[in-house]
């Protein structure tokens, strides 16, 4: 075992004091992690993303919350008040005093997963770990074995939460490399509706943020799931979103992957009821020697479902970008409509992107298409802008912004949208000017 694997497995504390089903699930997950080990580039789904830098680390469990020293307060400083509820998790644990409540429809539950496991385990039991399978998925298994806290949202049939729910994960500890494994569980009943945004932040310390999210959509439910990943520069970020959609449900899963020295974002969705619609999208940006990896796996299990997938990447310096998107149309899933597009902008000669859009179709009456592009900034457009007086850095920023804007604008809630604009603009050579000009 690598030092990382050893130290991660050593953090296992069993399930003392927990219900037997949970303790069993933890033990099973640990066994799955040990069996799989951290993926290497020999693993097909990790071919282009090397975890070599992670594997040599000794990763400690995150320190217990401490009022004076946690990173959350500083990371959240100066931030506008949330539009709706905001749950803050510091090094993986819920921090009530940093969180903000908001009214919920009757019967709805929103809170810490650890609290729910303590006080209402039977509400969690049918769903926790049902979608987030652990076999062969080392990070998900690790999360299943070591999860301590996270968010739990339960929406009874018809419950509609209009204001976005913000989940902030702030990670990092000075002087040691920590690992956190937050878990988010969302169960949206028939016709329920909510917008949920995960915000991942961190300090400049080395850490592993390994989050797992499970989204269960009942018939006709509408869930918008957003991720703003702005981890610290030394962070390893691995997140996996598992979704299952009943008939006529609509899921929007959209993410901006901006930070971390290595960031991997997975979306695994199963369209399990007829007429379900999935829009999965994201923007990934990396510079320096960073790696960013967007992995999606969508299964059309029944007829008449729709997937629209759009990912865009912007890579600079010696950064590496990876997109792997697979859409599987199972036998009998007729009238499937699936479109997949991945576009990449390379801003330097040394940046690399590996893009692998993939359709596997086992039904014959479907409309499916996919495409990928890798390009550079349009020199003709750049000259056009400059010949009008726009400085080179600003002209470049304008063109990059034009490429990225569609993805930024998919973050619809006003406060998060403003934040997303700032985060993306901050990564452009003259982003500030672009924001001012666009204002």
């Amino acid at each position: 075992m690598t030092p990382a694997e050893q130290s991660l497995a050593a953090a296992f504390r069993g399930g003392a004091g927990e219900p037997a089903w949970l303790a069993d699930a933890r033990a099973g997950a640990l066994a799955a992690f040990r069996a799989a080990g951290l993926p290497t580039t020999r693993h097909e789904d990790w071919r282009f993303t090397s975890l070599a830098a992670l594997s040599t680390l000794s990763l400690a469990p995150a320190p217990a919350p401490d009022d004076g020293e946690g990173p959350a307060r500083a990371l959240l400083a100066g931030r506008a008040a949330p539009e709706g509820a905001r749950l803050v998790f510091e090094n993986g644990r819920f921090r009530r005093e940093l969180s903000t409540g908001a009214p919920l429809p009757a019967g709805a539950v929103l809170g810490s997963l650890a609290d729910a496991l303590r006080h209402a385990p039977e509400a969690v039991r049918p769903h926790l770990g049902r979608l987030a399978r652990v076999d062969g998925l080392a990070f998900t298994a690790l999360n299943g074995a070591l999860l301590e806290d996270g968010a739990f949202l339960l929406l009874p049939p018809g419950a509609r939460v209009e204001a976005p729910i913000e989940l902030v994960f702030a990670t990092g500890a000075a002087g040691r490399a920590v690992a956190v494994h937050p878990r988010v569980l969302v169960v949206a009943g028939e016709g329920a509706r909510a917008t949920l945004a995960e915000v991942h932040l961190g300090t400049g310390d080395t850490y592993l943020a390994n989050s797992v999210t499970e989204l269960v959509l009942g018939e006709g439910a509408e869930v918008e799931h957003l991720r703003l990943q702005d981890e610290g520069p030394r962070a390893f970020h691995v997140s996996a979103v598992f979704a299952e959609q009943a008939a006529r449900s609509r899921l929007t899963a959209h993410g901006l992957a901006l930070g971390g020295q290595l960031a991997r974002s997975e979306v695994r969705a199963r369209l399990a009821g007829e007429g379900a619609e999935l829009a999965v999208s994201g923007l990934y940006m990396a510079d320096g020697a960073r790696t960013t990896d967007a992995f999606t796996w969508v299964e059309h299990a029944v007829p008449r479902c729709t997937t629209t997938e759009t990912y865009k990447g912007i890579l600079d310096g010696r950064a590496r970008g990876v997109f792997a998107g697979r859409i599987v149309v199972q036998p009998g899933a007729q009238k499937t409509s699936a479109r997949q597009m991945n576009s990449n902008l390379l801003l330097s000669d040394d940046a690399i992107v590996d893009t692998k859009p993939q359709l596997e179709i086992f039904a014959d009456d479907v409309k499916c298409g996919h495409g990928g592009t890798v390009g550079q900034l349009d020199e003709a457009a750049l000259f056009y802008l400059r010949s009008r007086g726009v400085e080179e850095a600003e002209a470049r920023s304008l063109l990059i912004w034009a490429f990225a804007a569609e993805m930024v604008d998919l973050v619809r809630p006003a406060g998060l949208h403003a934040r997303a604009r700032e985060l993306v603009a901050a990564r452009l050579p003259a982003g500030r000017k672009v924001l001012e000009a666009a204002a």
Binding site: E379, A381, S387, R388, G389, E391, F403, E406, A437, A438
Partner: protein
């Protein structure tokens, strides 16, 4: 000898290549403030290359000669610095830039130029008022302002958009590369009106065109014929009529003579 001060652009022995092909083979040209010059010539003669080199297009490599604009070395300036100094290139093929709003872009450009000149930036309201006024000049629908730069514009709309941008930026030297190509007679009138509105004693215009038609609307002071990467003949407005009668065949057909003419003509 004329007063040195009113020379706006002085080009001497300018040579440039694209990839490994030499396109400009020693261009000499002098333009004074208040003048409109037209460069005519057959396709491939180097007219558009000259326009691109003057605006700073990076695909062209200058291999010799000089271009002095208002006393400074134009070729040493970045494209945006040339714009700030008052040089404007009207593109033969204006570039479509999806995702960048037309007015948003133009305000960015205008304010970059104003900053470079040490002037205050225009705020959104003042800019909009200016843009509206200038749009009228070229009959551009205000709706074009919110569309992406040139995206989905017809050929005529793109050219009018060029003139609109020129009207807003108010350059001292406008180089218009085949601004008349692909225009119907009404659009040509509109574009010409925009160019004529810019004419002033302290400004100059360099028209690059293949046809005489434009020159019926924008009367030039001087006409130059370009061939084989050089200016082979220069003259007054009457030269356009001669070209109309004889075409450019003589240019290609009598190259040695042309080169002699070039040697003499450049200083005439």
């Amino acid at each position: 000898m004329a007063v040195k001060d009113d020379i706006m652009l002085s080009i001497q022995g300018l040579r440039a290549k694209v990839a490994d092909r030499e396109i400009l083979k020693g261009v000499d040209l002098e333009i004074r403030a208040g003048e409109v010059h037209a460069i005519m010539g057959p396709n491939g003669s180097g007219k558009s290359t000259l326009a691109g080199v003057l605006a700073g297009r990076e695909a062209y490599e200058v291999t010799g000669g000089t271009a002095t604009y208002l006393g400074q070395d134009l070729l040493a300036l970045a494209p945006e610095a040339r714009a700030a100094a008052g040089v404007f290139l009207g593109f033969q093929y204006p570039v479509e830039i999806p995702g960048v709003g037309n007015l948003y872009f133009l305000r960015t450009a205008l304010n970059a130029i104003r900053r470079a000149r040490g002037e205050d930036e225009l705020d959104a309201m003042d800019f909009l008022a200016l843009a509206r006024e200038k749009m009228k000049l070229v009959d551009l629908d205000p709706a074009f302002g919110s569309r992406s730069v040139n995206e989905g514009f017809s050929g005529g709309e793109k050219k009018r958009n060029e003139i609109f941008q020129m009207a807003v930026l108010e350059p001292r030297l406008a180089i218009l590369d085949e601004i008349d190509s692909g225009l119907d007679i009404d659009a040509l009138r509109v574009v010409s009106r925009g160019v004529n509105a810019l004419r002033r004693a302290d400004r100059a215009v360099l028209l690059v065109t293949h046809y005489k038609r434009l020159l019926e609307y924008v009367a030039p002071d001087r006409i130059h014929v370009m061939a084989g990467g050089r200016i082979v003949r220069s003259g007054g407005p009457e030269l356009a009529d001669e070209l109309e009668r004889t075409g450019y065949a003589w240019v290609d057909g009598a190259r040695p003579e042309v080169e002699r003419a070039a040697g003499a003509g450049a200083l005439s």
